[in-house]
């Protein structure tokens, strides 16, 4: 019998929001590497997530994922501080597919709108996340662990008790 996906409907809806996203992996010698992402997409069956990266910024992460297949990504909604971390052990780097670049553009504008009432200049969000179409790569994995990381004493707790 297959397990239900770790990402339920509610979490999937959250992950489609205007989130700040960062992903980390492990390089040789247990050295962590990380990069800021420019959006994400949850698969229709909610069993995998695809993160959007700029190759020009993500070099060390791309190399590390190719070598170790491990990834940890943190997703945070600035206005509420709600933060979730997903981890996987089957991460892979892929090329952009149809619709991916448009998803990046959509994410950047949504994130800029999310930050505006918090006092951040929209140009700031655009400058930090922007990437050329030819620079886009993807990092996909099946979440095998999920953690609540909203600031507070409960931060770090598994999001769902293991079945």
């Amino acid at each position: 019998m297959t397990q239900p996906p770790l990402i339920d409907e509610e979490l999937a809806a959250f992950l489609r929001g205007p989130l700040g996203i960062n992903v980390a992996s492990r390089a040789a010698g247990k050295v962590p590497v990380l990069v800021r992402c420019s959006g994400c997409r949850v698969s229709t069956d909610r069993r995998s997530v695809k993160l959007y990266l700029a190759c020009s910024r993500a070099g060390p992460v791309i190399d590390a994922v190719r070598a170790t297949r491990v990834a940890a990504a943190v997703f945070s909604l600035p206005s509420s501080h709600r933060t979730v971390q997903l981890k996987g052990i089957d991460a892979r780097i892929g090329a952009a597919e149809e619709g991916d670049y448009e998803a990046v553009e959509h994410h950047i504008e949504a994130f800029a709108r999310e930050l505006a009432p918090l006092g951040y200049n929209a140009d700031m969000a655009r400058a930090m996340l922007w990437l050329e179409r030819a620079d886009l790569a993807t990092l996909s994995f099946t979440p095998s662990a999920a953690f609540m990381q909203t600031p507070g004493p409960g931060a770090g707790a598994p999001l769902r008790a293991p079945a």
């Binding site: 700040g20 990380l34 943190v74 400058a127």
Partner: protein, 445 residues
């Protein structure tokens, strides 16, 4: 090679940073961190607030990576780090604790963010990440030019009172910092009292704060600059003072009789200790209603100014002591009119002119000695040296800054009394000017 000090603007907490670590089994972890703090050219410190995976991981595997962003240019940097140690008290801890209080308040996290420790990391490398840059706005002003001009102005000051006023004038005129004050410690080192201020409706000269209270009190206790970039009640003076007064009973009410000057809507605060040879001479405090008004660079400039102020003050003190001369035996003619009662309470040195509180402590004892000599011998000319040697004043120790107490006394008189004043007559000498008859009432312990 990018140096840590060149990316300090990323460490003001304006844009949240992220940190990645690896567990002993190699599983990566990534999380937001409230504060990446600049320690020195080779180190940063991360705020440790909750026992979490990041903490567990660095204790097992010290390597970490941080991602920081410049809030003006949008430049992004990857920092390769190695965990060294955690500090749970002391200057670095207090600097981060104060900054975190501002960040927490700004992000609606007051009461959630609490600093447990300052995790110190060695910076192994900094890499600039590719990306768009926003055009930089012109700098508010050139801080080095302001520092140079101020330095030259301070060097020309010939007495301590002038030096303190000139320091605050320089902050205003050269740095555009309009609200400032200078406080000096009392002899026992448990309190600080205001001797100069600029930019407030009431000078607040003579107002006191306990050591450890607010950014000024913490800066004095830890001998380190304390800087807050957002409004926070955690370091507000009013409430802390009221709580303390209540806890200690009415005996301490005198210290709150002169309100501390300060902006009600202060959003940026910076307190810098003035110290020479390890001895605290005072605390320079500046504030603004603007958020994030004071940067690491402003802090550097004010630390340099405070250092110079301390050295000039020390030189002036030595010169004043060496040039003390016996005063001319001038005797003043007694003014006419009804005598005004001046009461002195020996228990705390407090002095009341009529019913109005003037001053207390050592400054009160000095004032009483001057009036005693005036009433009994009609003496009006005095030297710092004789005050230092007078057993009735009980100066806490020889290095006590008598000059600062005289400045405090003369400024309080100038603000509160029309018929008594103190004028300098030379280095280490001054005159008590009395325009109405005085009846000194001494109340023993």
């Amino acid at each position: 090679m990018i140096t840590v000090d060149s990316v300090r603007a990323c460490m003001e907490g304006a844009i949240p940073a992220t940190v990645a670590t690896c567990a002993a089994d190699g599983t990566p972890n990534v999380s937001y961190v409230s504060q990446v703090h600049y320690v020195d050219g080779g180190h940063v410190a991360l705020s440790f607030q909750f026992f979490n995976k990041t903490r567990e991981n660095v204790l097992a595997n010290p390597r970490a990576a941080a991602w920081v962003s410049d809030p003006t240019s949008a430049a992004q940097y990857r920092l390769a780090l190695e965990y060294l140690r955690t500090e749970t008290e002391g200057p670095l801890f207090e600097r981060m604790k104060a900054k975190l209080a501002g960040i927490a308040s700004h992000s609606g996290m007051s009461g959630v963010f609490r600093l447990r420790g300052a995790d110190v990391y060695r910076v192994l490398g900094i890499e600039r990440v590719a990306g768009q840059l926003l055009p930089a706005p012109p700098p508010r002003r050139n801080l080095l030019a302001a520092l140079r001009a101020s330095s030259e102005r301070l060097n020309r000051c010939a007495d301590l009172g002038r030096l303190l006023d000139e320091l605050l004038a320089c902050l205003d005129e050269e740095f555009g910092i309009g609200h400032s004050m200078l406080l000096v410690p009392d002899g026992a080192g448990t309190r600080l009292y205001t001797v100069a201020s600029r930019g407030y409706a009431a000078s607040g000269v003579g107002s006191e704060i306990p050591l450890g209270c607010g950014v000024i009190g913490v800066a004095a206790r830890e001998r380190t600059p304390i800087r807050i970039s957002h409004m926070t009640s955690d370091y507000a003076y009013g409430q802390a003072m009221r709580e303390r007064a209540a806890a200690e009973g009415l005996s301490d009410m005198l210290e709150t009789m002169i309100p501390l000057p300060g902006l009600a809507d202060s959003r940026s605060q910076l307190a810098v200790p003035v110290a020479v040879e390890g001895r605290l001479l005072g605390v320079l405090y500046v504030e603004s209603t603007e958020e994030m008004r004071f940067s690491y660079d402003d802090e550097d400039a004010l630390v340099a100014l405070a250092t110079q102020t301390g050295m000039v003050a020390r030189l002036l003190q030595e010169t004043a002591e060496s040039q003390d001369e016996a005063p001319a035996a001038a005797r003043a003619a007694r003014p006419g009119g009804a005598p005004v009662p001046v009461r002195h309470y020996a228990a705390d040195g407090s002095v009341f002119i009529g019913d109005d509180y003037l001053i207390k402590g050592v400054a009160g004892a000095i004032f009483c000695k001057l009036l005693r000599d005036y009433v009994s011998e009609q003496r009006t000319d005095f030297t710092n040296r004789e005050l230092r040697l007078d057993p009735s004043i009980r100066l806490p120790d020889v290095s006590d800054n008598l000059e600062a107490r005289l400045i405090l006394l003369s400024r309080r008189l100038a603000e509160r009394c029309e018929f008594l004043r103190i004028e300098k007559t030379g280095r280490g000498r001054f005159r008590l000017v009395v325009a109405r008859p005085i009846r000194l009432v001494e109340l023993p312990r």
